[in-house]
């Protein structure tokens, strides 16, 4: 399990989630994104292409981050959800809260 952060040439922060996003590591992701927000970044993509599963604490962190980024005039997009994760977002109605694209590249193009 690890989180990677990189910035594309237009300044969008792309966060990769490898493994799982759960109660035991959600604070690490939150802190990394909040640090980037504090440093001035405003556009974020979280890429789940290498993510196995997300629990409700992980979902909660995404909701919390989305609010904090919006409060700063920014935007958070999600990408790369597999079929099971997509279903999870639909069941919880979180697909109505987030802009979700098939790939990180599509998310970047949509900014």
């Amino acid at each position: 399990m690890r989180f990677t952060l990189k910035k594309d040439k237009s300044g969008v922060v792309i966060v990769g989630v490898e493994g799982q996003l759960i109660v035991g590591n959600r604070q690490e992701l939150k802190q990394k994104v909040l640090d980037a927000l504090e440093e001035g970044s405003r556009k974020f993509v979280i890429d789940f292409a290498k993510t196995g599963y997300i629990d409700s604490s992980g979902l909660g962190v995404l909701v919390s981050l989305s609010k904090k980024i919006r409060e700063q005039g920014g935007e958070l997009r999600l990408a790369g959800l597999n079929a099971d994760l997509q279903t999870l977002f639909e069941l919880t109605k979180l697909d109505t809260l987030f802009a979700i694209t098939r790939t990180a590249e599509e998310a970047l193009a949509a900014f």
Binding site: Y53, S56, T92, L94
Partner: protein, 142 residues
Amino acid sequence: MSLRLDVTRDSMRLDVPSDLGMVGDAVELVASHVPPGTLSPRRISFNLRTALAEALGNAIRYGTGEDPERVVRVRVELGSDYVRIYVIDDGQGFDTGRVPDPTLPHHVERDYGRGLFVIRHLVDDVAFNEKGNGICLTLRAG
């Protein structure tokens, strides 16, 4: 702190210290010892892992208060076409009937309150003991 899984042909036993940082390793340990063919690989890799992480996270946060001196017990029955997982803490339990629907429009933007809802959608059957400090998750083949 290391985890020790006791495995027999039809059961597993694991005591997990009340530390949220142990949830991921505990889930991997159990999921990786489910015999091939019991459940589909997809149900093991997503449904079982997510539901067990939820149950363990709830037990550690709310049941044992993240007190590392306490443990959460995981007991697993392995059937030919089902897996039944018990997660039991030594806390006071909670009223499972008083969990609001997280999909209501005024709840969707909350960053909490989805755990039980998620579990109910991922497994075939959910049951609680009378005290509310033990949950039983059943996943069936198919």
